[in-house]
């Protein structure tokens, strides 16, 4: 027991206590001018439920998390399949693919903001070159464009991690099963569907859940790229909480949004924690 004490003390001080206090703050009113909290009971939650802009934030978050997570897991899966095949230079490609994940998130944000830039961005140039568009799209200025930009940045950032988890899962697929399927005349496609997917489905679930949680926590790239704009198109819960708390200094309402956010994360997290504690 004594061994866990140091970690426990710091955990209580810097994680658990702030967490509880933040939750508590949701029942208070604390603003810029009178920062010491005043009890308001469920007033904050009441306001939230009726606030249409909050509903929109909530739906934007759900869409953002679902789209990003699905794309990441799918890309990660196919990329893992490819890297599982032997080809010349595979080791180099394997080391290089981890790069996007290790770049600081602000760098990733700048990178993609520059690619999506209206006048001089690479994307517009490529699309124009390919004749897909004739007039430059100012991505980060249009609601849907900004959303696409933010999603692609996060997918690009987290695909390598998903890939490595799935690749590890692939190692446990016994080659006998694949050989057997080959003997039965299966092509690559049906092997993937009938042998590989069923085998690593648990890993896929874990990766999906982990990515969903990471995407729900996500704030850095959005904060650096669009700061929740334009017209709240990329305002996810994390951005809303940050702006309410540290720009409008409305701590009470920010905590209330935090509570709602916590219960959205709790769903995928419950799946993950269940699988984690099945094995303890």
């Amino acid at each position: 027991m004594a061994l866990t004490l140091p970690a426990l003390c710091l955990f209580v001080l810097f994680i658990f206590y702030p967490f509880l206090r933040s939750f508590g703050l949701a029942f208070f009113e604390s603003t810029l001018f009178n920062p010491d909290p005043v009890w308001v009971g469920l007033q904050n939650f009441h306001d939230l439920i009726q606030d249409p802009t909050f509903h929109r934030t909530w739906t934007t978050t759900l869409i953002y998390v679902l789209v990003t997570t699905l794309l990441t897991v799918m890309l990660g899966f196919f990329w893992a399949l490819i890297l599982n095949q032997a080809f010349t230079g595979r080791t180099i490609v394997r080391t290089v693919t981890i790069l996007p994940w290790i770049l600081p998130s602000t760098v990733t944000a700048f990178l993609w903001a520059w690619i999506f830039n209206g006048q001089f961005g690479l994307l517009n140039a490529v699309l124009k070159g390919a004749g897909v568009i004739d007039q430059a799209i100012i991505w980060l200025a249009t609601p849907s464009g900004a959303f696409v930009a933010v999603v692609i940045a996060k997918v690009w950032l987290s695909t390598p991690v998903a890939m490595s988890f799935i690749l590890a899962g692939l190692q446990s697929v016994s080659s006998e099963e694949v050989d057997a399927a080959m003997m039965d005349g299966c092509g690559a496609g049906s092997i993937i569907r009938h042998v590989i997917v069923p085998h690593i489905f648990p890993t896929l679930v874990i990766v999906f859940v982990l990515q969903a949680m990471a995407n729900l926590q996500q704030i850095d790239t959005i904060l650096a790229m669009t700061r929740g704009g334009p017209a709240r198109a990329t305002t996810v819960l994390s951005i809303e909480v940050y702006q309410k708390a540290f720009q409008e200094w409305n701590m009470g309402l920010a905590s209330a949004i935090g509570v709602a956010w916590f219960f959205t994360i709790a769903i995928p997290a419950a799946v993950y924690l269940h699988s984690v504690f099945k094995r303890v």
């Binding site: 810029l32 200025a141 017209a231 540290f246 720009q247 409008e248 200094w249 409305n250």
Partner: protein, 410 residues
């Protein structure tokens, strides 16, 4: 051995004390320092303030409010702080500013600075900050662009204004005729507000929301019309506009008097570019409203948070806000209007200055500024206008949504 140590300690202590007595240290927080133009000027001027070693702390403009409050709440002392005019009510409400009358003496201040300008830093009888530079955010025209488009004099009415913009569009195809800010809600709110005023609309009337009016809808429809017809560029903010203006790719845009200084630097032509830069009255809609603009000023104050070295603060603030010589140098190098009577008299010969001062006469203070949760109100207004500009909502829905959200936030 022991004695030697004592001797050593005492001498160093003495040296430190001596040194300490003369050189006070002061921290000067502002955004001018974080912009290339201002950085050189301030670094040079700060060295001239004798026996005060100043730590310069710079934040970009749109991070200033957050960091000011962070420093206030964390009890950090700040001997000199640069303040935008619209942040004054919030800082005064927080009790974060020192009354400068006690430090300089009210009548000494009245003698050096014109009472009208002093008023910007006065709240219920106390002088919480001194104007460093002042003017208004008004419509700035680019003479060269107007010439190529064949426009000889400033458009009087909104319809003339629209016609002029269309002419510019034809004459200079890939230009941005009207460089209105369409990104960053705070910028959108401040600039669009002028057009709303010109159409006779007001956001707040003695404490409650008064934006849900036909005039407001008309104003927003006008703006959205300009955006849809490509006369205003989407995703544009003032930095981008200033860069294009300096390349003669913008006909009109809203900017404080600093416009000329920046244009000089960004165009690379220096003062030769001055001839193109001049303020024009905001075109009227024929409803009798005088040409509107937003009061704009940078003030300097001493924060009362923590334990500031008031004497050091007095020297730093005084050097920039009260010393005519520094004020004129600031004007010459950066094109920022001085505020002291003496400095103003010296530069009155330049009609850029006289034109702007005349326009500033009918300027109004930014409306959300006077409320406690001004940040939230500003964000709501900016977001709804932005939504309309981007076509995410109709002008009508944007106004009603804005009114509802503002009422709830009051």
């Amino acid at each position: 051995m022991f004695k030697k140590v004592i001797f050593l300690l005492s001498t160093t202590a003495a040296y430190v004390a001596l040194q300490g007595a003369t050189a006070q240290d002061a921290s000067f927080v502002g955004w001018a320092y974080s912009e290339a133009a201002g950085k050189a000027f301030i670094e040079r001027e700060v060295d001239e303030i004798d026996d005060v070693s100043v730590e310069l702390i710079g934040f970009p403009w749109n991070q200033m409010v957050q960091n000011m409050i962070l420093r206030h709440r964390s009890g950090e002392s700040t001997e000199a702080i640069q303040i935008q005019e619209r942040w004054m009510p919030m800082l005064v409400g927080l009790g974060a500013l020192q009354d400068l009358n006690e430090i300089y003496g009210a009548d000494a201040l009245a003698a050096t600075v014109d009472p009208g300008l002093l008023a910007m830093g006065q709240f219920d009888g106390k002088q919480y900050a001194l104007p460093w530079t002042a003017g208004s955010i008004a419509l700035v025209a680019n003479g060269a662009v107007l010439e190529t488009a064949g426009i000889s004099e400033a458009p009087a009415t909104m319809d003339d204004f629209r016609a002029a913009l269309e002419k510019i569009k034809e004459a200079v195809p890939d230009s941005v005729p009207f460089g209105l800010s369409t990104a960053n809600p705070n910028l959108i709110q401040v600039e669009s507000q002028i057009i709303f005023w010109q159409f006779g609309a007001r956001f707040f009337e003695d404490g409650n929301v008064s934006i849900d009016t036909p005039e407001a809808r008309e104003a927003l429809e006008f703006i959205v019309g300009l955006v849809d017809d490509g006369l205003v560029a989407k995703g544009n903010d003032r930095n981008a506009t200033r860069a294009l203006y300096a390349q003669n790719l913008v006909g009109f845009y809203f900017d404080p008097p600093v416009a000329r200084g920046i244009a000089r630097k960004q165009s690379g032509q220096g003062e030769a570019f001055d001839v193109n830069v001049y303020p024009v009255p905001t075109p009227s809609t024929g409803n009798g409203e005088p040409p509107r603009s937003v009061i704009w000023a940078h003030l300097l104050g001493i924060m009362s948070t923590g334990s500031p070295d008031l004497d050091a603060g007095k020297k730093v603030v005084g050097h920039f806000a009260l010393n005519a010589e520094t004020q004129v140098a600031y004007w010459n190098e950066l094109g920022l209007f001085p505020t002291t009577k003496e400095a103003l008299a010296q530069i009155k010969t330049d009609n850029y200055v006289t034109d702007w001062i005349e326009l500033a006469g009918t300027a109004r203070l930014d409306e959300p500024a006077s409320f406690e949760n001004s940040a939230e109100l500003r964000k709501i207004i900016g977001e709804e206008i932005e939504a309309a500009m981007l076509g995410a909502k109709s002008a009508n829905d944007a106004i009603s949504a804005m009114a509802k959200r503002l009422e709830k936030a009051m």
